[in-house]
């Protein structure tokens, strides 16, 4: 009798979870539709940025927060996605006049596809590269991943600069058709969140968390840690490539300088602020950091401090961001959400146990 009631309760909780999730998705869809019609161009642009960074942050959180493998590669994978999408979307006409440094290879001129194929290819190529990289880096534990991926980001940039036949060198590619709009970015952000959440709550997700919490214990319990890490790394690379493609089609021009380490640093502060390991936290972190970064623009400009004129200090925001990062790590390591998700907040805790 009691068992039956517990079972019923479980059912009811699952039901409640489902309703919460569905209403979140529908709410977001409605918001995208509303924002697209009613907000001004500047706001829509910021929302587009936020949606893309939600994709990147949520997938970055999968490898960094959920699996606990400290990787610093997003700028590399985003760059790959952006360049693949750009090369596939720019019309042959536009290509024919913008290669100023060197003549493009003939195959570059023939590359052409629609937006969906371009985005998928961006994602798959990034994931493939992640798969190749995972063999050297996961041979050793944890922190080597940080330095290899950091170096890898540099190499991508060096390759982009040194192959003007494909990438137009440091001038970058221009005239990318502006396919990204709030429906694409917002829609794919929802897809990314749903996919990542489903992975986190699956068998693989539990293996990833086991790797994070205690790798030795996970090995002892028979978890294939290499597989768990590689899966997390490749999934995150896939969405980072995809996000890069969206970014290219939003900005309409890309250059190697866009994808330096600062890009990764932004994502890092987003997921740390939101709470490492929480997907909800990654979304909250994105809104806070992207919004805060717009709001803190005044820091870079000349200021009047108590009657004392300061000169313009470009980069002051970065100093503030790095101090915020150190501060969170020292005094509020859990970030906003800790490892909890939004649905956890609705569960009553007084009953005890989970």
């Amino acid at each position: 009798m009691i068992l039956k009631r517990v079972g019923f309760k479980m059912q009811a909780m699952k039901h409640k979870d489902f309703i919460i999730k569905l209403s979140m998705i529908l709410g977001t869809v409605w918001f995208i539709w509303f924002a697209n019609g009613h907000f001004d161009e500047y706001t829509v642009r910021i929302l587009n940025n936020i949606a893309i960074f939600v994709i990147l942050a949520v997938s970055y959180n999968l490898i960094n927060g959920v699996t606990g493998q400290f990787s610093l590669e997003p700028n590399g994978f985003v760059a790959i996605g952006a360049y693949v999408t750009a090369l596939l979307l720019i019309s042959p006409d536009a290509k024919s006049y913008q290669y100023a440094i060197a003549d493009p290879y003939p195959f570059v001129m023939t590359l052409q596809s629609n937006f969906v194929v371009a985005l998928l290819l961006s994602g798959f190529l990034a994931a493939l590269l992640a798969l190749v990289l995972s063999f050297p880096v996961f041979r050793v534990r944890g922190d080597y991943l940080a330095i290899v991926t950091l170096g890898f980001g540099f190499i991508i940039k060096i390759l982009a600069i040194n192959h003007p036949e494909v990438t137009n060198g440091s001038l970058g590619l221009n005239d990318i058709p502006e396919f990204s709009n709030l429906y694409w970015t917002g829609g794919l952000a929802i897809v990314a969140v749903v996919v990542v959440l489903n992975i986190v709550n699956s068998k693989f997700g539990r293996a990833m968390k086991a790797v994070r919490d205690d790798e030795d214990a996970a090995i002892a319990m028979g978890v294939n840690t290499f597989k768990a890490k590689t899966l997390a790394f490749c999934t995150s690379a896939f969405f980072e490539g995809l996000g890069g493609g969206l970014l290219a089609a939003l900005l309409t021009s890309i250059s190697p300088d866009l994808f330096d380490f600062f890009f990764t640093f932004q994502l890092l502060i987003i997921i740390v602020l939101g709470g490492l390991g929480s997907t909800t936290g990654a979304i909250i972190g994105t809104v806070l950091v992207m919004g805060g970064s717009e709001w803190m623009r005044f820091l870079d400009e000349p200021m009047n401090l108590f009657g004392y004129e300061t000169t313009a200090m470009p980069g002051m925001r970065m100093v503030v961001f790095s101090l915020v990062l150190i501060f969170i790590m020292l005094f509020a390591r859990e970030g906003v959400m800790g490892k909890r998700e939004l649905t956890d907040l609705f569960k009553s805790r007084k009953k005890g146990g989970k």
Binding site: F70, F154, I161, L323, M329
Partner: protein
């Protein structure tokens, strides 16, 4: 021509080695990749610059100022940012290290400007000297000699003094060291001080060689020096020197004989790093830190 390139490679490799020693020592005691180490090298270069340009000190005094300043900065960064996180998951420590690195880069960028500044190289370092029939600037002779001297000082401290014994013990087992009545935090502070002092010397040599300083100069050098530490075998001081020399030589020699690869010179260190991780993750002279766990 060949000998000339060998000398250049030796000089460049010595600079990488000086910086790699700091990485390897900190990794040895804390198992932390100190991302801020390259930036401490940058601060060392800047302190030398300020010492000479602003305070009007002679070169040697400016070098001493840079060494003391960088050592204090290294110890302070440990005290403020790393020590509170000794018991925290390692990923927190890495994130904090990145925060410190980014803070130093951007603070210098904001307050001193991102434009490279010409470093006032003293005339006696630019004199061309003849050395076994090769003409080279004095600095190319002094850098390897200074590196060898500092390396022997470090090795003397590590293997002949009580503090060195404590450092080696700490690299072996932290909890036992505490049980033996050694103040682990003091030893770690000492390691940060020594590593940062060497980084400052490396930074000054760098500034003399490319006569300029700028806030981002530590980023790539730091990464390459870390790659050097891993190639040589992280945790081993001799390995760091060996790795630094290997990477310095490769860079110089490959560019000298295949000039068309010049654009990729910054990538060699990472290719080395990936090859080493694939075939011998402990590095050439490495200690297997992981083995102790299983």
């Amino acid at each position: 021509m060949f000998m000339q390139q060998m000398v250049n490679g030796f000089s460049l490799g010595s600079m990488y080695a000086l910086i790699a020693i700091g990485y390897t020592m900190v990794y040895g005691v804390l198992r932390l990749i100190n991302f801020a180490h390259g930036d401490i090298m940058m601060v060392g270069g800047f302190l030398g610059f300020f010492g000479m340009e602003v305070l009007g000190l002679p070169f040697v005094a400016a070098v001493l100022l840079a060494i003391v300043g960088a050592a204090l900065l290294g110890m302070a960064s440990d005290r403020v940012a790393y020590r509170p996180l000794r018991e925290a998951p390692k990923i927190s420590l890495l994130i904090t290290a990145i925060g410190v690195s980014f803070f130093l880069e951007n603070a210098f960028n904001v307050f001193f400007g991102g434009v490279p500044r010409a470093f006032p190289v003293p005339a006696y370092l630019e004199v061309m000297v003849e050395f076994f029939g090769l003409m080279m600037p004095m600095s190319a002779v002094i850098v390897p000699i200074m590196t060898a001297f500092l390396l022997s000082v470090i090795l003397w401290i590590l293997f002949k003094t009580k503090y060195g014994m404590a450092i080696r013990a700490l690299a072996f087992d932290v909890s036992t060291v505490n049980l033996m009545g050694i103040d682990a935090n003091r030893v770690i502070t000492l390691v940060f001080g020594m590593g940062s002092a060497l980084a400052a010397v490396g930074g000054i040599f760098w500034a003399v060689n490319y006569p300029s300083v700028e806030p981002m100069m530590g980023v790539l050098v730091g990464l390459k020096a870390f790659a050097a530490a891993v190639v040589g075998g992280i945790g081993s001081v001799g390995g760091a020197v060996l790795g630094g020399l290997i990477i310095g030589f490769t860079e110089v020699v490959v560019i000298a004989f295949f000039p068309e690869l010049g654009g990729y010179k910054d990538a060699f260190a990472f290719i080395f790093l990936i090859l080493i991780l694939l075939f011998k993750p402990t590095g050439i002279l490495g200690i297997d830190f992981e083995k102790s766990r299983f």
